[in-house]
C-alpha cells in the first residue's frame, strides 16, 4: 500500500491534537503515543489546557491542546508540530502558530459551519484562505459525514456518533504515520471490554479514517518513524504527578514507614492527591484537609506519629505552608513538600508552567530555616526524586521541598517499571533502644547531625517538641543567645552534610568545552535537546541539569570555575543564576530566561546560547 504514497523516513514526529475539551483529544493522543511506545519509541506528551473547566463550545477560549512526540531521542513534546489535528475552526485559528511551516493540517470540514465560524471570529466563510494556509497542506475531512456513513446501519445515535470524531481523526493519523489500525483496536478492545457495541462502533470509525486517508490523500507524505532501542523491561506510560505519587509509595515500601498525605486541592498538583487517595488499596492514608495550612500541619502531626508524611501543593499553597514548614525545620521532623510550580505571582497562570518558586522554596520562611530542595527533570524523574525526597527527609530528619512543574506534572513519558532491586532500602532515623537507655534527650544528635525520631507509643521516650528554641544539651526551651546560634548552625550543618550523598556534577556532551549550559528541574528535555543540537552543529557545549538545589553537588563551584561561559537557562527572570552567582562572584553567570507560562522551545535555547557565545 505504501508504495503508492510518498513515504518519508524520520526519527521523530510531533502531533498536536486541538479541539474543544469534550472532543476527546487527549484520549486520541494517548492511544497514539502508547501504540508507538509499544514499538519501542520514546514518547513525550504535553497537555495545554485553559483554566476554565468548560468554556463555550466552539469558542477560541475553549480550545485545549494535547501535543505528542514519538520516535528516537525524544527529550521534549517538541517545539512545533509536524501535524496539527484541528477539530473546529477555533482550534485551527488558535493552534496554527504551533505548526511547522511545512506541517500538515487535518481538519474537520463539517465543522466549518456559519455558527462555528462566527464563534471563532472569522471574517469570511473560508478559514483556510483567511489564515493564509497553503490548501495543499490541508486534509479537510468531512468527519461527521464519514462517521454517519460508517455507522449507517449500526443503530448508534447522533450524539454518540459525534463523540467518535476523535477516533476518526486517530484513524487518519495512523495512516499518516504508518501505524497499523490493529494495534489501536487492541487498546480499544481492552478499554471497552464490557461494552462490545461501543467497541464495534469505534472500530468502524477508525477504519473509516484510515481508509479515507489512504484513498483520497495519497499525495500527502506518509511518515515512517524509526524506532529506538529502549532498555529491556516492562513499561507503562506515566504523568509526572502519578510518578511523584508512586515514588512516595516506593519510599514507604523501602522504609517500612506508612505513607500519609495531608493536602488541599490546587491546580496543577491535585492529581497527586487523587492518585494517593486511590492508593488506600496500598494502605496509604491520604486526607483532604480544610486548607493548605491544615494540609502541612496534619502532615507534621503524622510525621510526629512516625509516618512518611507528605503535603502536595503549588506556589500559592507553598506560601501558606511556610510557617508550618518552619515548624518542621525547628522540630526537626521528616516532611516532604511537593510544589508543582505554576505561573505566578498570586493566582497567576494556574494551568501554565514556570520555575518561579525556587527562591520561595529556598528562603521563604522566617528566621534561619534551611532545608533540602530538590527538583525533578521529567515526568519519569518525578518518581526518582520523590523517592529521594522521602529518603533524605527520613534519614536526615528534615523537611524536603521537591519542585516539579505543570509541564512535567501533566506531561507523560514511557517509564520502565522499576523492579524491587532497583531502589535501595531507606533507613529512617528512628531512636534505637540502646540510645534511649543511655539517657537520650530529644535534641541529641548523631554523627550525621540529625536528631532521632522517637515515636509516640514508645515507652520511656516521652519528649516535647516545638517551635521554641531548645537548649542543645538539655532539650528544654531556651532563650540563651549563644545556645541559639549553636542550634542555628547545627541545623544548617545538618543540611550541608546531605551534600555527601548528592551525585557529583559531571558535565555531559562536551565536558571540555569553553561553554557550559546549565538548567535545573523540568527544563531538562528542552535544554538537552538544544545542547545536543548545538554540538551537532559544531558548537562545543557542555551541559548539566541540576536536580539537587540545596545542597548543591559538592564539586559544583570547582567544576564551574573551569568554564569561560556559564549559561543558565530557566523559566523565570534568573533565580537559579542569581543563586549560583552568589556562590561564584568571580564569574559572570549568563542567562537565558522566559516567563510566558510555556516551556522553552529548543530553538529559543539554541539561539540564546549562540548569542552568548558570540557576544
Amino acid at each position: 500500500m505504501l508504495q503508492e504514497t510518498n513515504v518519508k523516513a524520520i526519527d521523530k514526529v510531533v502531533i498536536r491534537f486541538a479541539g474543544d475539551s469534550g472532543d476527546g483529544m487527549q484520549l486520541a493522543g494517548n492511544i497514539f503515543s502508547n501504540i508507538s511506545a509499544e514499538k519501542g519509541d520514546e514518547i513525550s506528551t504535553f497537555p495545554d489546557y485553559p483554566a476554565e473547566i468548560r468554556a463555550p463550545q466552539g469558542s477560541l477560549s475553549g480550545v485545549s491542546g494535547y501535543q505528542v512526540s514519538v520516535g528516537k531521542d525524544v527529550f521534549t513534546p517538541g517545539d512545533e508540530a509536524d501535524v496539527l489535528v484541528a477539530m473546529n475552526p477555533a482550534a485551527l485559528k488558535t493552534n496554527l502558530k504551533y505548526l511547522k511551516k511545512e506541517g500538515v493540517i487535518v481538519c474537520d470540514g463539517d465543522s466549518f459551519t456559519a455558527a462555528n465560524l462566527k464563534k471563532a471570529e472569522y471574517a469570511t466563510s473560508d478559514p483556510i484562505a483567511e489564515l493564509g494556509i497553503d490548501p495543499h497542506r490541508v486534509m479537510l475531512v468531512p468527519m461527521t459525514t464519514l462517521i454517519k456513513s460508517a455507522l449507517e446501519d449500526s443503530g448508534v445515535d447522533q450524539k454518540t456518533m459525534m463523540k467518535s470524531r476523535n477516533m476518526l481523526a486517530l484513524g487518519i493519523i495512523c495512516w499518516i504515520f504508518d501505524r497499523p489500525v490493529e494495534s489501536v483496536l487492541r487498546k480499544l478492545r481492552a478499554k471497552f471490554a464490557k461494552k462490545p457495541a461501543v467497541y464495534e462502533a469505534n472500530a468502524k470509525v477508525i477504519r473509516a479514517g484510515w481508509d479515507y486517508g489512504h484513498n483520497t490523500h495519497s499525495s500527502l507524505p506518509v511518515y515512517r518513524i524509526e524506532t529506538s532501542d529502549a532498555r529491556p523491561g516492562t513499561y507503562t506510560d506515566v504523568t509526572g504527578n502519578t510518578a511523584t505519587a508512586w515514588g512516595l509509595i516506593m519510599a514507604s515500601e523501602k522504609s517500612g514507614r506508612p505513607l500519609f498525605l495531608g493536602s488541599y486541592p490546587i491546580t496543577p498538583a491535585t492529581d497527586i492527591l487523587h492518585e494517593l487517595a486511590k492508593r488506600k488499596d496500598l494502605g496509604v492514608k491520604a486526607i483532604q484537609m480544610e486548607d493548605e495550612i491544615a494540609g502541612v500541619c496534619s502532615a507534621i502531626g503524622a510525621s510526629y506519629a512516625g509516618h512518611l508524611a507528605v503535603t502536595s501543593t503549588s506556589g500559592p499553597g507553598l506560601a501558606l505552608k511556610s510557617e508550618g514548614i518552619g515548624l518542621a525545620v525547628m522540630a526537626e521532623l521528616p516532611l516532604v513538600v511537593i510544589d508543582v510550580q505554576r505561573g505566578g505571582p498570586s493566582t497567576g497562570l494556574p494551568t501554565k508552567t514556570e520555575q518561579t518558586d525556587l527562591l520561595q522554596a529556598l528562603y521563604g520562611r522566617n528566621g534561619e530555616a534551611p532545608l533540602c530542595v530538590l527538583a525533578a527533570t521529567s515526568p519519569t524523574d518525578c518518581f526518582h526524586m520523590a523517592f529521594e525526597a522521602a529518603r533524605i527527609a527520613m534519614e536526615h530528619m528534615t523537611p524536603v521541598i521537591l519542585l516539579t512543574d505543570a509541564f512535567i506534572a501533566n506531561g507523560s513519558s514511557a517509564w520502565r517499571i522499576p523492579e524491587d532491586k532497583d531502589y535501595p532500602e531507606i533507613h529512617p532515623h528512628i531512636l534505637p533502644q540502646n540510645v534511649l537507655e543511655q539517657g537520650w534527650r530529644a535534641y541529641d544528635r548523631d554523627a550525621n547531625g540529625a536528631r532521632w525520631w522517637a515515636l509516640p507509643g514508645t515507652p520511656g521516650a516521652m519528649h516535647r517538641l516545638g517551635g521554641l528554641e531548645k537548649d542543645a544539651r538539655t532539650s528544654v526551651i531556651s532563650t540563651d543567645g549563644p545556645n541559639h546560634e549553636r542550634m542555628v548552625k547545627a541545623r544548617r550543618e545538618k543540611i550541608a552534610r546531605i551534600a555527601d550523598e548528592v551525585p557529583p556534577l559531571e558535565p555531559m556532551l562536551a565536558p571540555d568545552a569553553d561553554t557550559i549550559l546549565l538548567g535545573w528541574g523540568g527544563t531538562y528535555g528542552h535544554l538537552m535537546a538544544a545542547a545536543t543540537q548545538l554540538n551537532a552543529q559544531g558548537h562545543k557545549v557542555a551541559f548539566w541539569q541540576f536536580r539537587y538545589i540545596n545542597p548543591l553537588p559538592a564539586n559544583t563551584f570547582e567544576v564551574l570555575s573551569r568554564y569561560k561561559n556559564i549559561i543558565v537557562a530557566e523559566l523565570n527572570t534568573g533565580m537559579f543564576a542569581d543563586y549560583l552567582q552568589m556562590h561564584l562572584p568571580m564569574k559572570e553567570i549568563k542567562r537565558i530566561n522566559k516567563v510566558e507560562g510555556q516551556p522553552f522551545l529548543v530553538r529559543e535555547v539554541v539561539d540564546g546560547v549562540l548569542n552568548h557565545i558570540k557576544a
Partner: protein, 341 residues
Amino acid sequence: MEQNENKAYTATDYKNGQTARWCPGCGDHAILNVLQKAMAELGIPPHKTAVISGIGCSSRLPYYMNTYGMHTIHGRAAAIATGLKTANPDLTVWQISGDGDGLAIGGNHFIHAVRRNVNINMLIFNNKIYGLTKGQYSPTSDRGTVSKSSPYGTVEDPFIPAELCFGARGNFFARSYDTNLEVSREVMVAAAKHQGASVVEILQNCVIFNNGIHSYITDKEMRDDHTILLRHGEKMLFGKNMEKGLVQDGFGLKAVTVGQDGYTLDDVLTHDAHCRNNFLQQQLAMMDGHDLPLALGVIRDYDALVYDQEVARQTLEVKEAKGFANLRDLIMKTQETWTIE
C-alpha cells in the same frame, strides 16, 4: 524502661519536673494539675498520651507534661492533632488552645476538627483576652471590652465557644472553670472517654490582663445562683439549696423556684446529654449566667462515626479487597504495560 500497662497511675506520672512559668495566681496552674489527675484516673500510660498545643499562655502546657507533646504554631494545634491521631489512632490526643489560638487564628481548624469528629480532646482555656501578647481583646471578649487594642471598647460581638461547637455539628461539649477542680476533672475524664471530637471550655482567669472577667459566676457568693451543674439523667436543679430548677417555657427555658408559682419538681427538666437532637442542649449551652445560670458539666455527649477510625477502617477494607502485594504488583495488574525484550 519497661512500664507496666496495668499499673495504677498517679498525677505525678504525668509531671515532668519543669516548673510551670505562668504568672502566680494564673488559672492555668489549676487546670494543669487537674488534667494530670484526670489522666491518672483514665489510666492511659504517659507514653500513649500526646498533648498538642498552639501558641499562647495556655499552649505552654505540654512543656510541663511527662507525655509526648508538641508546642506548635499559632492556631494550628487542631490540624496537627488531626494528623497525629489519624496516623496513629491508638494514641490519646489532647489539644490545648486558648480562645485566641483556638477560635481566632485557629477558628477554621477548630470547626473542621469538630465537624470531622476526630477523636481528640480539645480543651479551650477561655479568658476572653490575649495574655502572652499583653492584653488585646480576643474573639470571645464581650462587646465593649476595653483593652490595649480596643482603647475605646470593642464594637464587635464575641463568639460563644459552645455555639461554634454546635454550629460545627459537635457531638461533645462540656464546660467548667479553672477553680472548680472537681467539675474540671469530671468533664476531662468524660471528654477522653467520648469517642470523637470532645470540646471542653474551661473559663480561665487571667490575673494580669483580665482579672475577674468570670467572677460574676465563679465567685463563692455568686456561683450557686449563677451556675448549674448538668449531669445526664439528673434534674436540672441549682441554687444554694438546690431550690431552683430549669423548666421549659414555650420555645425557651426559664429558671423557677420549686414550690413557687405552681412549679413542682416534676416540671423541672431532666438532662439528656446523649440525645441526638441538640436543640435543648444548645439552649442550655447558651445560658450565660445572667438571666439563666451558666451550664457546667457535660452538656452534649452523643456517639457518632469517628473520623480517624473511619479512615483506618476504609483503608484496611480497600486494601484487603484489592489485595495488591505492593506498588509493582498494582502497576502490573492495573496499568497498560508493554515489554521490551
